[in-house]
Symmetry: C3
């Protein structure tokens, strides 16, 4: 009949070795745009994820998460997101096969439920593409080690789309390393070399980035710079529901952000972020090609599970000011 | 890597404060149509839902349910259905943000697994549209209070479709209140004012309804009348997999039903429903515009989890009789 | 609001009668094709399934499994796979209503996580179509009985596609019986008679098959022959993500396989399979119409939950040799 077994009692979530952890989080949100004329506004879901994962069992573990938000992806339906099996050979060699985030950039590596602002940096959403991919990777280090590293070989065509088989015979290589210089300062760098275009084994692309994270008591400051040149698959861009992808094929692009957050107390954390993204570094700063944005906001942690995030996005025009600011309010539960 | 955390043990379904409840139900069904010539018949799923929810934790709770039946919605894939976070300020003020049913009509408010007949009333499926929406709402009262009320501000464009962002800048307001007059009689009313059309902030729509519920020992009788006028988005109509939506834009429509069920014993409950739906009250009762239906059937509760429902739908033609009756048999498990 | 209940405590996964079992498995995989010129290779998921099921409760049980692999099905989204409610009248009469595998062929009946090779036999993927369907069936016998049987009446149009209502008024009948002749030898046969074409109550199709399974200590040998003639719905073919369906409408096709596996020890099990599939038995063995394949490989069971499968597929051409061999490596977790 189904993928059944003769003896249903053999699979159980009660035995010690097979403990299944159910987890997920929800981010319902309200957006309001301060535009000329009618001002768009909507209730929506930023993310709605549910998954299971298993503890390490004889050096193996698994992770299986689905995305249910109809506002992410090409379709409005539930789809497979981060799903992988990991072999824990050693603290310096955890090998994962499946689909997961490319090991590139601190902002991308931050779990979606732990982001300090509602949106990731524009440069991360537009240049670290695809953000998720199928591949094999090796991960080393933990939070107690000064050094952490990750290297992955991936399809390069992302997890979305219609039967997303790899569409060229080349693979992409992506890596990131961080080093804790002092108790409060960690620096890092990321690198990516790949072949993004469909049915094209020639056109390549090179991306690199630098990052720092300073944690001084209640103050956290982090920043990144990312540079990208070469071929670009627009369909893979735009990040996780954040932005419409732009066409950057053949251009050299860069961008950076700096973000500061201060934990006034356990519950209240104001945050400020300044960022820019330049689609084409070879031309002067044309509006629409070069963009700058400030984000003002705060996090309010009701308790361990529930959080309120309110962000004001001030888009800065270098020539003529345009009414295109936005406010977003999000409630998150993490279970 | 994924939306992972450094310390996997931090998220667990075993600690008291984070208890996750898994729940859902299945409704496999067989339909047979008594039509002229070939008589369509099919095995299908009426609904197939699975979800998780969390107990109230420091005044907050969450609810996360997916629909997996390929016979509902535009696609045959799993999608997000009722998903919301609730802040329990007070018994008279529970505030929910997310996607859920519009607070309109007793029949719609009845959970899908507790419906007395297989189908909701035609008037509820055709006039309370969209049945589910994204929004924010405030809910008051419980089953021990005489008064219960709910008011919600919602997008007005439903939960289905391709990236279902709100497509006009106006919001819809929906509300319902019920009052228990005596121990056995509860009456109520619902109201809705909205802007259903895409990219249209002018065309409005007004819907209102009245309901009663009488529970006399083993007998339950309920009835509703719903009236709707103005603009209408056909794509949002048709209820939850029950009916093909009809085009009612610019028309004034109404309908009503009365349903009686008698619990012979704990297991067996026969039911009868008479209903009508008039797509256009401004013309005489033209076949196809005005429809009447009787439903005969019963519920058989094998036990707390499993239920059998058999319904015979007798469509009544006012002019010429047409062979269009239907029988449906459904098994339900609720877990 | 949602499909909620007044008293959330009434549905719980902690009470004995309502114990919900969460289960599933993941099969991330890497494929490499030994073709002329560029050699296609990809990381992907073979299957990614998650579900819940319930123990027998007052003679009833349920099973609810979703498929999340974007490499199976028409869409890249999660969809309903094996979902059914079973009434356990007797060991000789278990009645299931819902969607599940057609009771035809030993290879198809083998749960996907227990297959000895990565792929099912070509003949099973191409001739037992649709592999899954909506219907009602009766199942008898268990692993201690010599005789086991299953008969199902099914829609005949499969579980995939857009609102997969049955599209003709005829139903298909499918059945299988096996008999254990001796302690080590079981033989069986399958039969199917149906009407596969859309809106066509005339064009029929007949399929039959024979199977044997010999288990001699650490050696397991099994084989099947399947024969099919008549109308054929190409859209329903191709098996579970394994093969592109071929057009067999109006043709008589057959095929067979024989497979031997030897468990060297608890962890290591080499396997060899030889198979052929003939799309049209009425013409001589034309390349592309007649195909032969050998599969060499092994299973390595790290432990009860994790397994590695490596298979080399050697496609045998009868006239001119073509470079079209393939190697596939798969890690499986079953939880």
């Amino acid at each position: 009949q189904g993928c059944d077994v003769d003896d249903p009692s053999s699979s159980s979530d009660t035995t010690g070795t097979k403990k299944i952890k159910l987890f997920g989080y929800l981010q319902p949100q309200f957006d309001y745009n301060f535009t000329d004329g009618d001002q768009n506004n909507t209730f929506k879901f930023r993310r709605a994820r549910i998954g299971v994962r298993g503890d390490i069992y004889e050096d193996f573990s698994y992770y299986f998460m689905l995305e249910a938000s109809p506002f992410i992806g090409n379709q409005s339906d539930v789809y497979l997101m981060d799903v992988f099996i990991t072999y824990h050979a050693d603290n310096w060699a955890r090998i994962s096969l499946g689909s997961y985030k490319q090991p590139f950039s601190l902002d991308l590596a931050t779990p979606c439920f732990a982001l300090t602002t509602i949106e990731r940096a524009i440069v991360v959403d537009q240049l670290v593409t695809p953000q998720r991919d199928f591949g094999i990777g090796i991960f080393g280090g933990n939070k107690y080690n000064r050094l952490n590293y990750a290297v992955a070989i991936m399809n390069g065509s992302g997890i979305g789309g219609f039967k997303p088989l790899d569409n060229n015979t080349k693979k992409d290589i992506v890596g990131r390393a961080t080093y804790r210089l002092t108790d409060f300062l960690t620096v890092g760098g990321s690198f990516r070399y790949g072949f993004p275009l469909l049915n094209d084994n020639e056109s390549d692309r090179t991306t690199y980035g630098f990052e720092f994270l300073a944690e001084l008591n209640k103050l956290k400051i982090q920043g990144e710079y990312i540079h990208d040149t070469g071929a670009y698959l627009t369909a893979a861009g735009g990040g996780c529901g954040g932005l419409d992808p732009v066409s950057l094929d053949g251009l050299t692009s860069d961008g950076a952000y700096i973000m500061a957050a201060y934990s006034v107390n356990e519950k209240f954390q104001p945050v400020f972020k300044w960022e820019y993204f330049d689609q084409n570094v070879d031309v002067s700063d044309i509006p629409g090609i070069y963009q700058e944005r400030m984000t003002f906001g705060f996090n309010y942690f009701f308790n361990k599970m529930y959080r309120l995030q309110i962000n004001y996005f001030a888009n800065i025009e270098t020539v003529t000011n345009v009414d295109n600011d936005q406010i977003a309010a999000q409630i998150q539960v993490k279970f």
